[in-house]
């Protein structure tokens, strides 16, 4: 009897603190994930989660509004636009590589690619496009890649994330690996992604407000005041790893792509809001 109560309690705690059980379906995970944040922050409107810390703090929101009067990513957007429309040496452009000429497609990335059995992020697709057209790949964390990603996000703003986990064991495996990484503890400090962005979301690490994991990917790439420049999700993942004294993975490593797959699936239904501006 006691044992059964304890077990039931353990399951409840497990569900509350980490989303769902390990073998739940992606749909079940998503529902539990949303419900957790809904209960945790009942006053935050669903769509507002794309604004990260600014959804939770009035004073931060006021500063952000002021900064958004002329967002610091304005220059990156211009650069991205120019890069996007500049033909490669063979005369083709990025538009030739993407569905609908690359406009309004951000919400479908990352996706599971049946051919390779791998997760393809927008940044990976950008480099695949370059290589297909005989161009050298760009580095993933900032610069031109961030500018292109920013422009493509901007051209998809408001479209709702629609990540699919197709009926393919490899897709589900990638999703599960991403989920496992998200909830596992890493680094000398022993933090999981969820420690900060699920359990402690809305609290502060020194001066900085921890953003809820729900919608956290929707504003990427971001201009970060701390960086003084643009950065992709790869750049931020690396920073998070270093924060918990873990060795970062390489940009676009399988681990990061799977993690992005899981996280973006968890943001399904939220609007694309990138590029964003963050402290």
């Amino acid at each position: 009897m006691h044992k059964r109560v304890a077990m039931a309690a353990a399951v409840v705690i497990g569900v509350l603190s980490t989303g769902t059980a390990a073998n739940a379906s992606p749909q079940q995970d998503l529902q539990a994930f949303r419900n957790y944040f809904k209960t945790r922050f009942p006053d935050v409107a669903f769509d507002d989660y794309v604004n990260g810390p600014y959804a939770l703090d009035k004073s931060l929101r006021a500063q952000w509004k002021s900064i958004m009067e002329f967002p610091p990513y304005a220059f990156a957007l211009d650069e991205g636009k120019k890069l996007f429309h500049t033909p490669f040496k063979n005369g083709k452009t990025y538009a030739d590589c993407f569905e609908n000429g690359g406009v309004g497609v951000r919400q479908n990335y990352p996706y599971f690619d049946k051919k390779s059995g791998q997760i393809v992020t927008l940044e990976l697709a950008i480099n695949q496009c370059r290589e297909k057209n005989g161009e050298k790949p760009l580095q993933y964390k900032k610069g031109k890649m961030a500018a292109l990603s920013a422009y493509m996000s901007y051209m998809s703003r408001g479209k709702r994330f629609d990540i699919k986990v197709p009926d393919d064991p490899r897709a589900l495996a990638a999703y599960r690996k991403g989920k496992e990484y998200f909830y596992s503890r890493h680094g000398q400090l022993g933090f999981s992604c969820a420690s900060c962005h699920v359990q402690e979301a809305g609290k502060k690490v020194r001066a900085q407000l921890l953003a809820p994991a729900l919608g956290i990917v929707a504003s990427f790439p971001i201009y970060r005041s701390k960086w003084g420049s643009m950065g992709t999700l790869d750049r931020r993942f690396g920073g998070c790893n270093r924060n918990v004294r873990a060795k970062p993975f390489k940009a676009q490593s399988e681990t990061y792509r799977d993690l992005e797959y899981f996280l973006t699936y968890m943001s399904n239904g939220l609007p694309v809001a990138g590029p964003g501006s963050r402290p």
């Binding site: 002329f70 610091p72 220059f75």
Partner: protein, 103 residues
């Protein structure tokens, strides 16, 4: 090359709201680079905004102004299509200027 200056100026009810962002490192001279070497000061000193031929704003900036600086002010007059000329000069003698139209 693209201009270092972005302008958004909107006229309504006889007042023009001027907003701009300038691409500039605004190095204060107090920050070290990744090798521990002090980055020399490099910052915009003067920004001038002209509406047609009239100077409507002059900002004297020091190194405390943020990177990629933002400036907003309002002036009476100005209507859609009027030219606004923004120019800046920095401590190394570099400069840029661009003319935008009031929206």
């Amino acid at each position: 090359m693209a201009s270092s200056i972005r302008v958004r100026a909107i006229a309504s009810d006889g007042v023009t709201d001027f907003k701009s962002l300038i691409r500039h490192p605004m190095d204060s001279g107090f920050v070290k680079d990744s090798k521990g070497k002090l980055i020399p000061p490099h910052y915009i000193k003067v920004v001038t905004v002209k509406w047609k031929d009239k100077t409507v704003f002059v900002a004297d900036w020091g190194p405390a102004v943020s990177k990629d600086p933002y400036l907003e002010f309002k002036f009476k007059g100005g209507s859609k299509g009027d030219p606004l000329t923004v120019s800046w000069v920095d401590n190394e003698g570099q400069s840029d200027s661009m003319t935008a139209k009031i929206m």
